[in-house]
């Protein structure tokens, strides 16, 4: 990169948060953090690591977003103890934003409450912190020790990532969802294909993707190894922010002469329903190429696909129908806000009438925690983001990752099917 070359969004946001204004990929910098998100990890490791520093305060109690979401409400004594330690820590260090355990999953609630604004540098104790890239933020996951460093100093070291450019055009077809797009991208890149890189999403095709749809894409970029997955800002985003009275932000566009390591083009109208077969998110095939696969469970929820748009599309398919008698369908809205809207719109009634079990907002089954853990040899189709061995339960259980429409269509048929065929 030369002195005169422009910057990508990731490079811009990082340089604006660092004293080094001429950064280039591969360089190590120290950057000021705008916000750090923590969940149960606070009571898991972070509090123990932080206590080692013997500090009686945190750098800025106003810049910490603390929520309980993984094991909510506590399904075991161990989880309850973890929650106790979290709350104790949050009180002791006077966290201003203790969000509690009734609001939903971190990556949904944080933007809903207006904490993710364009141009921000956000880190979180969770790998899917990349989700806020949909809001034109540079956001990424970090471990417990990193969180302790941020708590103490407000700063963190970064290696400036190279950027991959994704140009989208066209529009998704009916019952094809942005989940199909991101699974297709992960397949094309493979699970290490974006290692250490920032993915940047451009093009006219973005316009047809709602903020909900974009969040699903940014959520899963980490499955290709990416450090962040940032959308260029547009009118849709500005309107969304206005709708929530969110102000004081900095829309960040890349420079025209920004340098990208790789460029990819996707025509959204060519995307078809796909699934990621066990046990890797890049093991992706079109649903139409699968042999007959009977399922025991279907899960609609998580920070990937538990949003209102997901519930609406799923309800459209389930309306006035019953799920297959051999299948358990579990539906978990990603936040209380979504849950309430879904109740008002009659979606929850449709789910319950179809034979689904509706749970309170939590991560729950996504990581094999509670509310739908898989038994030996069971097969689950799931709207979540990881299908690693044993992720949702027994190590012999199998997970197929899919969009909300594919997931519920499969619940109706008792086997994995293309949602355009039900």
């Amino acid at each position: 990169m030369t002195e005169n070359s422009g910057k990508t969004i990731a490079e811009k946001i990082l340089s604006e948060h660092s004293s080094n204004k001429t950064i280039s990929p591969g360089e190590f910098i120290e950057a000021d953090i705008d916000l750090v998100m923590v969940h149960e990890q606070l009571g898991g490791r972070i509090h123990k690591e932080y206590e080692k520093l013997e500090l009686d305060k945190v750098w800025d109690p106003d810049k910490i977003f603390f929520i309980l979401d993984h094991w909510v409400p506590a399904p075991s004594i161990e989880a309850a103890k973890m929650h106790q330690d979290c709350r104790k820590f949050a009180k002791k260090y006077k966290f201003k934003h203790d969000i509690g355990m009734d609001k939903g999953i971190c990556h949904q609630v944080l933007p809903e409450l207006g904490f993710a604004k364009p141009g921000m540098l956000i880190v979180g104790s969770d790998s899917h912190t990349t989700t806020y890239g949909a809001f034109n933020c540079f956001s990424t996951g970090i471990g417990a020790t990193d969180v302790s460093v941020v708590f103490a100093t407000g700063k963190l070291w970064f290696m400036v990532p190279e950027t991959q450019k994704f140009s989208l055009k066209g529009q998704l077809r009916e019952n094809v969802m942005s989940k199909d797009l991101i699974l297709q991208i992960i397949r094309d890149l493979s699970i290490g294909g974006a290692e250490y890189k920032s993915m940047e999403f451009h093009g006219d095709g973005i316009k047809s993707l709602s903020i909900d749809s974009r969040m699903t894409v940014s959520n899963m970029v980490v499955e290709a190894g990416a450090k962040s997955g940032i959308f260029i800002p547009d009118n849709e985003l500005v309107e969304w922010l206005k709708g929530r009275s969110i102000s004081n932000y900095k829309l960040t566009m890349p420079d025209d002469n920004a340098v990208y390591v790789e460029e990819f083009n996707y025509d959204l109208s060519q995307i078809v329903p796909v699934v990621a077969k066990p046990a890797s998110p890049d093991n992706v095939v079109p649903v139409s190429e699968l042999p007959e696969i009977k399922i025991d469970q279907a899960f609609l929820g998580s920070c990937t696909n538990g949003r209102l748009e997901d519930l609406r599309q799923a309800a459209q398919i389930l309306k006035n129908k019953k799920i297959h008698p051999d299948v358990r369908l579990i539906v978990i809205p990603a936040s209380k806000e979504i849950y309430l809207k879904a109740i008002r719109e009659g979606l929850i009634e449709i789910f319950l009438n179809s034979g689904a079990i509706v749970g309170n907002p939590t991560c729950g089954p996504c990581f094999g925690g509670h509310l739908g853990v898989l038994g030996p040899n069971e097969i689950c189709i799931s709207t979540t983001n990881r299908n690693f061995i044993g992720r949702m339960g027994d190590i012999t259980s199998q997970i197929y990752l899919a969009s909300p429409t594919t997931t519920v269509a499969s619940a109706l048929k008792g086997k994995i099917v293309d949602p355009r065929e039900v």
């Binding site: 149960e40 990890q41 898991g44 520093l53 302790s148 460093v149 290692e195 250490y196 690693f388 044993g390």
Partner: protein, 160 residues
């Protein structure tokens, strides 16, 4: 940094954090208790066989998945002193360095290392000696900034 000497435990590509330590054990929170389950899905005998000083060698994209630092800390608890891989997932890489465990990127690991080989690693001289195979392997340069973190035994010691 002192020299590291230990045996190789060899793994393939894309070992993820759910493989290293399944999420469901995280509520145990006692490091010793969590560490009893390290890599149990892939190799149920790993925990019994591993000894202080041993070295994990893996293929591409080691440590992909979750940000859970337990997946690094449990290796520390078991005495693993270095991890060599063809590439690392980024959060895992950070977590290794931050906890003071060298994360060394080496190409073609299968040609250079076998299960049980004895290695001697000198970070200072940027060289790995495979004593069993009698070969010397040059490492990629580790940025000075990261060596400083390793030298003090992890980033918390640096900011103390």
């Amino acid at each position: 940094m002192k020299e590291i000497k230990g045996r190789v435990f060899l793994f393939g590509d894309n070992i993820n954090t759910d493989d290293i330590i399944p999420h469901r054990y995280l509520t145990l929170r006692d490091n010793g208790e969590i560490a009893k389950h390290v890599l149990e899905n892939l190799r149920p005998d790993f925990v019994q066989n591993v000894r202080k000083g041993d070295i994990i060698v893996a293929g591409k994209n080691f440590g992909s998945g979750s940000s859970r630092e337990e997946a690094v800390n449990v290796l520390k608890v078991l005495g693993i002193e270095a991890v060599i891989a063809e590439s690392f997932a980024r959060i895992y890489f950070r977590n290794l360095i931050n906890l003071g465990i060298p994360a060394l990127k080496i190409n073609d690991v299968k040609k250079k290392f076998s299960e049980g080989d004895i290695l001697k690693i000198s970070i200072k001289n940027e060289v790995i000696v495979n004593e069993t195979k009698k070969i010397k392997i040059q490492m990629c340069k580790i940025p000075k900034f990261l060596v400083e973190i390793l030298e003090v035994g992890g980033i918390l010691n640096k900011i103390k």
